[in-house]
């Protein structure tokens, strides 16, 4: 059914359609509307036989999901930013135990300085945690990916993180097609784990494993993610059969056939990039786009194939690894090993800074003219940065960076005038 609704609510409806057994909720922006929506649906009796638990922290949210999943319940939670970091230990534990928990991450920056707006620093901090990470480009895709996530996770016995851009998607009202319960039931079978906590067949789960088998256990976790590289496209194809639309998959190429420059990105940013590329195409520039839907597992063969003929690659990413540069671009370079094409990193949209068509256009024209630096920070205000660097050069002084900058541009500066 077509609906004009908020991204968060669309996700809540999708999760409800997946017949979850246990939902653990802890508030953190910009994820709150999702669990609020689910809480209301459960309380109103619209979701049958579901426990909605208001927990005391994100660490508890993931821990309750771990217990519930190990006892055979389809378990779901949602978080963002600091919340994801606070539950980090349990995030690793859930994948280590092979529990197919589905979690929405409403992507948000990580502090300090505290910032509630969108970037991908939070999910990226958990990229090695053993979870599958799927990124949604639109609200429709966010909705669809949740339905696929339960199926994928339960087939592989792995947890799945569905990443959607905070505010940009979670709080945007858009038209979405909400499937019927019958459609979802036809696509997603009930959760039937191979091994659960059950007095009739007692098992010990989570025992200590020493050097004699630890490497094997870790390798098997990797092998499962490699299986996901096959399963993700299969599930996307099945999804298309049932629901009639393309959603998910590993990568999504856009106008790359003859492209000399290809922009690689994740999430909602792809919309703006495609608009920019369309205009540049109209002007005769051979530019294409490669969207990465599955960041973990990282689809190395698909990316390698898609980028085979292009001359240069620009990775635009809403995150970066302090002290080295890009995160996504490092993985893209890994996919392109032994290939001559240059891969530039463009860090954009940190802490919710708008990524505009104008800025993208200028950056892409520079790229097409081979004038792009290996690492670029889009729309960086050099006057602020240089002033602070200059001050540091004159007098070494420890202290919070953001507060030092605020002295120049904030209230204190106004008072000093």
């Amino acid at each position: 059914m077509l609906k004009q609704t908020e991204g968060s609510h669309a996700v809540a409806e999708a999760v409800a359609l997946c017949r979850p057994d246990v939902i653990c909720a802890y508030p953190i922006s910009p994820q709150t509307h999702i669990v609020e929506g689910l809480g209301e649906m459960v309380k109103a009796g619209e979701v049958n036989n579901c426990e909605f638990i208001n927990v005391e922290s994100e660490f508890a949210a993931m821990s309750v999901a771990i217990g519930a999943s190990a006892a055979g319940a389809r378990s779901y939670t949602a978080t963002a930013s600091q919340g994801l970091l606070f539950m980090a230990e349990a995030v690793y534990n859930a994948s280590g135990l092979g529990l197919p928990i589905v979690m929405t991450v409403a992507n948000r920056a990580i502090g300090a300085p505290i910032n509630i707006w969108n970037d991908h620093s939070d999910s990226m901090s958990m990229r090695d945690a053993g979870w599958i990470q799927l990124f949604a480009e639109t609200n429709q895709e966010a909705l669809d990916l949740h339905i696929q996530a339960f199926k994928l996770g339960e087939e592989l016995s792995l947890p799945v993180m569905v990443c959607m851009d905070g505010f940009i998607l979670t709080h945007a009202y858009e038209r979405v097609d909400v499937p019927t319960q019958a459609q979802v039931d036809a696509f997603l079978p009930p959760y039937e784990p191979r091994q659960v906590l059950d007095p009739s067949e007692p098992v010990s789960i989570g025992a200590m494993v020493g050097p004699e088998a630890f490497t094997e256990v870790r390798y098997l976790a990797h092998a499962k993610q490699m299986q996901a590289l096959e399963l993700i496209p299969q599930i996307a194809a099945e999804f298309k059969q049932t629901f009639g639309r393309d959603s998910g998959g590993l990568v999504r190429p856009y106008r790359i056939e003859d492209a000399e420059t290809v922009v690689v990105a994740l999430g909602s940013l792809l919309g703006t990039i495609k608009d920019t590329v369309d205009r540049l195409r109209d002007e005769g520039h051979k530019i294409g786009v490669l969207g990465i839907n599955s960041f973990r597992p990282f689809p190395i063969p698909d990316i390698r194939d898609a980028l085979e003929k292009t001359q240069r690659i620009v990775v635009v990413e809403k995150c970066f690894a302090v002290g080295i540069g890009g995160i996504v671009s490092r993985d893209v370079r890994m996919a392109l090993r032994n290939r001559p094409q240059p891969v530039s990193t463009v860090v954009a949209g940190l802490g919710g800074r708008a990524v505009t068509v104008a800025s993208l256009r200028k950056m892409l024209l520079d790229a097409a003219a081979d004038k792009l630096e290996p690492l670029t920070f889009l729309d960086l205000d050099w006057s602020i940065v240089n002033k602070q660097l200059e001050r540091d050069r004159q007098k070494r002084r420890s202290g919070p960076i953001a507060e030092a900058v605020l002295r120049d541009i904030g209230v204190i500066a106004a008072k000093m005038v």
């Binding site: 426990e51 217990g67 006892a71 319940a73 230990e89 007692p202 010990s204 789960i205 989570g206």
Partner: protein, 332 residues
Amino acid sequence: MDQTVKFYQTGTFTVGNRLLSEENRSVQANMQRTNSLNSGHRACQGCGEALGARYAIDAAMNASNNQLIAANATGCLEVFSTPYPETSWQIPWIHSLFGNTAAVATGIAAALKVKGRRDVRVVAQGGDGGTTDIGFGCLSGMFERNDDVLYICYDNEAYMNTGVQRSSATPPAARTATTMPVGPEPGNVFGQGKSVPLIAMAHGIPYVATATVADLRDLEAKVKHAMSLNGARYIHIFVPCPLGWGAASHDTIRLARLARESGLFPVFEAEFGEVKSVSKIRHRVPVEEYLKPQRRFAHLFGKNPAFETIARIQATADRNIRKFGLLEEAVS
């Protein structure tokens, strides 16, 4: 059985099972006991935690018609019972992390509720570090929501698994690896630490009890009573640790008894935040009797005894005795 049995071994409450009616007999004495924590595990000789866990979990099994699932915090109990690829647990058991056991148990209970398995019960268990320190947030959350979980804390008063470091359950003056008996105030400082049983009571949960491995019948009875209730329940069991305390393996029971008989560890039951019963002290002993056999308190004795410190510990015991009414009151 109407007859009052008064046939105790000296200094204990032990009574021969054959003098008791069937329903009053110990679970451990029963041929049908489940040996939930089976033999062959790697606990130290004289481990109070292994003893406490064995009695507690077998009693919980007995009370739940063997329909029990356990969540276990990281710690000695987890490590000595499940070295890969072996396990001593005869029941469904899960270890997730150090600080989330209460929450994992909440999740299990929620799953069972959704699946309509109200017959299957959930226990969570951990040491004092996993309970009073790192797992405290999740524990308080589980209490506050009144989740259907019995949480059992095996309190040996320090982080034994990592090599005897101080926890918030470590008593004043005790030597641990992080409160060494050096400097002007040797051992753990006074005026710190917390009573999780009292904090549990403040949550108004249906049942809170303390117990020791010196009185295993009392421990079994409390576990069985807790299992007859629903909602959040908490049992805090005092379990001496020969290794961490520097005590003889054969003194585990004796030390647990002396902790109770000195008043240092009050044994009581509470319902909905109200104390309902206390185990009275039968033969009151000065705290020295409890402290002396333990090397963690050795710096208080020797050639120059720390009389002032011992007096402060005695004052704590006296305060407990007053607060909980641990002495038999004179008939007026």
